[in-house]
């Protein structure tokens, strides 16, 4: 399929170094969350671990998936889906989680 190469920067990509840095950051994050798991317990650990996971995901999306460049063209897909996904879980919380413990 020959796609229209609409504009040059559709393929503008970060350079090699950036990728390596991001990779290192990801690796460190993984170690970090594992370390937190060993040291802390309970909600604090869970919170930190999940925040680290979000950071990792954001890094992958932003750099590896080139969203940094494509954002103006695809934000209208990503933003609603994030809102919907988060909303779905939060709406269900009172019902399924809290109601059960009454």
């Amino acid at each position: 399929m020959s796609e229209p190469h609409a504009n040059g920067d559709a393929h503008a990509a970060p350079d090699f170094q950036t990728y390596i840095y991001v990779f290192l950051a990801l690796a460190i994050c993984t170690i970090l969350s594992f370390a937190v798991y060993g040291v802390l317990e309970g909600m604090a650990a869970a919170g930190i671990i999940m925040i680290v996971a979000v950071i990792k995901a954001a890094l992958v999306i932003w750099i590896f998936m080139h969203v940094k460049f494509d954002w103006p063209r695809i934000y209208f897909l990503i933003v609603p889906v994030l809102i919907l996904g988060v909303m779905m879980m939060f709406v269900l919380l009172p019902d399924i989680v809290i109601a059960w413990h009454q």
Partner: protein
């Protein structure tokens, strides 16, 4: 597009984004919703059901090794890097390098799946499968528990498992006593009171009992015991990791096709888009695991 109107005009009316990329992102959006629903289900069930006396099983209860999960995370992160480097190499017209990176990605994906397979095997060995974990031990379930344990004990005693001699001796003893014990007592004898939750204690049992599993730390002793919410845990675990693994497999197939193309000499810069879209997909698979790992192993 064979019938494409001239490129310039499409660009004029549409987004400055190739159809393929747009479609790929749309596909990823549906995938995000898919995994949101799946992970959401897990979170809600996990936060909703368990109580103080019947907590959600920890990794130890269900033979889950955190380090292995962390290793797999690392493997996927590496593969994310290599796939993006493959795209980058192709971008810089280095087809050979791109092929190499593709190959590494494929290998890393395979490593991930192999590790996963071993994890699955340990679950199967310990019968930590949906619908197979014994939770309440009264009524017909108790009877089934009795029969299962009897079979497992016989298996060990007859020497098919590589259990230590001492452990086998303990098993033989338990097998002899089996008909006189209630399912809850059997459970206590196998798991020990530290692992048996309050509600599963047989009435009048003394609190400090060391079970066979505790005593011998014997990984090869495949004895069933009660795990509160074990079924639900197994259901969630297999559903989530299973669908993730299927996605990994899908990615590997595409990598395989690309490598075959390269082998046949048909792979080149003209496939920049293909590599990019595959990469997008692969990163998404990586991201899913980035969330699954802490949710299943750590939190």
């Amino acid at each position: 597009m064979e019938h494409a109107v001239s490129d310039e005009k499409q660009a004029h009316m549409g987004l400055p984004l190739p159809n393929g990329k747009l479609a790929m992102w749309l596909f990823l959006v549906t995938e995000i919703m898919f995994f949101t629903a799946l992970i959401g289900t897990y979170l809600l069930i996990r936060m909703g059901m368990p109580t103080q006396s019947q907590p959600w099983p920890g990794p130890k209860d269900v033979h889950l090794v955190e380090a292995i999960g962390a290793f797999n995370t690392f493997v996927l992160i590496c593969s994310s890097l290599t796939v993006v480097l493959a795209h980058w190499s192709l971008h810089t017209n280095d087809v050979r390098k791109a092929t190499m990176y593709m190959g590494i990605t494929l290998a890393l994906g395979c490593v991930f799946l192999v590790v996963k397979a071993f994890e699955y095997k340990s679950k199967i060995d310990h019968q930590i499968l949906p619908g197979r974990v014994f939770e309440k031990l009264d009524g017909p379930t108790g009877y089934r528990f009795y029969r299962t344990v009897e079979e497992q004990l016989k298996h060990i005693v007859e020497g098919h498992a590589h259990a230590s001699e001492k452990a086998r001796e303990a098993c033989r003893k338990l097998l002899d006593e089996l008909p006189r014990l209630s399912p809850k007592e059997i459970n206590l004898r196998i798991a020990g009171s530290k692992k048996v939750k309050e509600c599963d204690m047989p009435s009048g049992a003394s609190k400090e009992v060391t079970g066979i599993l505790e005593e011998f730390h014997d990984e090869d002793l495949h004895l069933s015991h009660s795990i509160p919410f074990g079924n639900m845990w197994a259901s969630c675990y297999f559903a989530m990791t299973g669908f993730h693994a299927l996605h990994v497999l899908g990615g590997l197939v595409v990598f395989g096709v690309i490598l075959i193309m390269a082998w046949m000499g048909k792979f080149g810069v003209q496939h920049l888009n293909l590599v990019e879209y595959t990469g997008l997909y692969w990163h998404f698979v990586d991201i899913v695991w980035i969330f699954l790992f802490p949710l299943l192993y750590l939190v």
